[in-house]
């Protein structure tokens, strides 16, 4: 029962898990690491990756990519306002 839909779901899951593992290196909470310093490039990368992850979950797991237009608009607006807001407050 390996349909196209099933394969797409699995690809989305692999990308989501891969991004999560990459995040491990970006995070400051390592037991033996030196004191963390604020980093704009790392934080921007984290925000972009989290935006991508959120959109993958919405589009492929929640199946919004085949949903009515109002739902696509709402979820994309939510993602954009959230992460643009987080970035703006961080940089301010």
């Amino acid at each position: 029962m390996t349909t196209t839909a099933a394969r797409t779901t699995t690809y989305a899951w692999i990308v989501l898990s891969a991004i999560t593992i990459v995040s491990w290196w970006l995070a400051p909470g390592h037991a033996h690491g030196a004191t963390a310093v604020a980093s704009v490039p790392i934080t921007v990368a984290v925000i972009v990756l989290a935006f991508i992850k959120g959109r993958l979950i919405i589009q492929y797991f929640m199946e919004v990519r085949t949903a009515p237009r109002w739902l696509k608009l709402f979820t994309d607006t939510w993602l954009t306002i959230l992460w643009a807001g987080v970035l703006a407050i961080y940089l301010y």
């Binding site: 349909t3 779901t9 995040s23 995070a27 909470g29 390592h30 979950i57 739902l71 407050i89």
Partner: protein, 210 residues
């Protein structure tokens, strides 16, 4: 069936109903997973959590050094593990919906159990993480960061529990040959993926950003 599909396509951009939700989702076909009531709840939850995340950022911006120093005390291994467990559970649930659509209810049921098991695993890992932090002396009253850490993860944990309850309804639906309504299975999955989506944001804000 043809009429129903035509109607669904015509309804693009409008609110879908439970009736049209029985149409199998396929490439290029407009379909609202679950029903509109579940989406109202999910979108409402996303909006409230969104406001909470912005408030977290406002507090963080007032004292970035303290937040970053506190963030370093969190165990990133646990954070990553929790994320992977929840992503795996979402994969099981998404595949369960596809199995239910293909009328393979035994498989759908099995996948839902695995998804739920991952949810229980998430709660267990979180409980371990909390108790480790409390033992190390980091409590809700330590500082603003830990207040947000316990509140955000706590409210999220409540949603995980509610998600498990909803998956229980999915199980009941799948076990009864006279029920097995696709939109019910989809609605449960929609809620479960929301729990995953919210955790992705918490993970980025509380564990990873600098």
């Amino acid at each position: 069936m043809g009429d129903l599909v035509a109607h669904t396509e015509q309804a693009a951009g409008e609110f879908d109903t439970a009736a049209t939700s029985s149409v199998t989702s396929a490439e290029g076909r407009v379909h609202l997973p679950g029903d509109v009531h579940m989406w109202v709840m999910v979108l409402g939850d996303l909006t409230i959590f969104g406001a909470y995340f912005i408030i977290f950022m406002v507090f963080r911006a007032r004292n970035p050094q303290e937040f970053l120093a506190s963030e370093q005390h969190l165990n990133i291994n646990i954070g990553v593990l929790n994320t992977l467990v929840l992503l795996a559970s979402s994969w099981f649930i998404a595949r369960s919906v596809q199995a239910a659509r293909a009328d393979d209810h035994a498989r759908a049921l099995r996948l839902t159990y695995f998804g739920g098991l991952c949810g229980v695993g998430f709660i267990a890992i979180k409980a371990y993480e909390w108790s480790a932090k409390i033992t190390q002396g980091y409590t809700i009253s330590s500082n603003d960061f830990f207040m947000f850490y316990y509140m955000l993860t706590g409210v999220h944990l409540f949603h995980v529990s509610l998600g498990l309850l909803i998956l229980g309804i999915t199980v009941r639906e799948l076990r009864n040959p006279r029920r097995r309504r696709p939109f019910m299975v989809e609605a449960g999955a929609t809620y479960w993926h929301m729990v995953d989506l919210l955790w992705i944001v918490i993970f980025a804000l509380v564990y990873v950003m600098r």
